[in-house]
């Protein structure tokens, strides 16, 4: 009797381990990323690039999740970077921006597809729905995604002091370039 129950337990364990693996689905991890933003302003254009994003993509559902470390946005002007973190984004309080979205009309088989991603973007602790148009290209063991969209700083409660108005535009253009690789 004891022997049997161990056997049953073992079988169940294997069975559930197997089930949970299928539940997890396929995971592609972000291996290369370039997220940049640009805003035109009368005095100086503001431009920064981030290559430190973490992300996961599930080709079976078309869902993706991204975590963008704010302090990893690199500006050419070091003082601008400091102000970006300390004064506007409050990076100590909100160290990351998050994106959780789903590709609309996604098919894991097509080589190139123009589609949109619908999802929630959390910046500066404030969540907002975005629809981003982009292109997804399938390669051997990887998917690359490109997209572009605009963010209004006030949508994310980023306060810009009055004295700074000449330096920062209300609208920021964000360009995203991602490559997801199959997990080994």
């Amino acid at each position: 009797m004891v022997q049997i129950s161990i056997k049953i337990r073992l079988t169940l364990f294997i069975l559930f381990s197997a089930t949970s693996v299928t539940v997890w689905g396929q995971r592609y991890t972000l291996s290369e990323s370039e997220i940049s933003f640009f805003s035109e302003a009368p005095l100086e254009n503001i431009e920064a690039l981030n290559t430190e994003t973490s992300g996961l993509f599930d080709p079976s559902t078309g869902k993706l999740a991204l975590a963008v470390p704010i302090k990893s946005f690199n500006f050419e002007h070091s003082l601008m970077q400091e102000h970006f973190n300390e004064k506007y984004m409050e990076s100590d309080k909100y160290p990351r921006a998050f994106y959780q979205g789903e590709l609309q009309g996604w098919s894991s088989d097509r080589v190139i597809q123009n589609l949109s991603a619908k999802g929630k973007l959390t910046i500066h602790g404030v969540e907002k729905e975005y629809t981003v148009n982009g292109v997804v290209t399938k390669k051997e063991g990887s998917y690359s995604m490109k997209g572009e969209f605009a963010i209004m700083v006030k949508d994310h409660k980023v306060k810009i002091p009055k004295l700074m108005w000449q330096n920062i535009a209300d609208e920021i253009l964000v360009t995203v370039n991602l490559v997801f690789n199959e997990e080994n």
Binding site: R9, F16, A67, K87, P95, P161
Partner: protein, 293 residues
Amino acid sequence: MKRTSIILFLGVCLTVAAKSQDLMDELMSGIEDEPEEVTSVFKGTRIIHGHSVKLRKKRALEMLISHRFGRINSGSYFLWGIDDAQIRIGFDYGVTDNLNIGIGRSSFDKSFDGFIKGSILKQKEGSSPVSMVALLSGYIKTSPQPSLNPGIPLSDRMAYSTGLLMARKFNSKFSMQVMPFWIHKNVVNAPNINDLLALGTGLRYLITPSLSFNLEYYLRINPPENEPLVYENYNSLAIGIDVETGGHVFQLHLSNSRGMMERSFISETTGDLSSGDIHFGFNISRTFQFSNR
């Protein structure tokens, strides 16, 4: 069989749990937060008169224009000191993120100054509670005029200061700095002394993200006795605000000191606070970034 059903039940629960956990939780479970170096301990490279632990980044050039006006208690004829300004124009440059050099010219004693400022330690959770910066400065007085006074050798015109700046950002608003200094002057007239030790304290409190209140005080440890009308020196006290507007920092303050070099404000502060000898002054800083690429 009872046990088996419990296991079965637990197994189902676990599977359900796994199912409801979304991609974001899965992503975040793989990310670990590493402690980072604390930044923006002070807004400017100067607290008021003296240096803060802040360094300019690599290839950044800061131009600093400072004015110290006459005594406010000098009266309306001198427009409360505004007619009489001492000026320093200086440049700080980031050789690396951890090493800055700078030069300056002060109208006071027609002096030149130069310094090397190096970061020794950076405040970081888990590794260091404070930031530490070493500051070495040298000064040359060019008054009295060398061509008319060939008898004064260059070395007689020189002075040095050595300081260690230790600061801690307690929270996003409040930072404090303690800085021991040693001022050496090659030649002095009695009762002035060649070597003066001082302990400085500085603090800042952020009122809004772009505005801070600052205070700076230097306690002289071995001050020479004051002799009325011959030699009168006091500890330096300054209070002020920093207003930051993009690439500029405006610092406005009131102080009993007029000097803009450690030599002058630590060891040559002539304003007596008890008689109301207070000067208005400001620093304007503009930072330029040379390409990092």
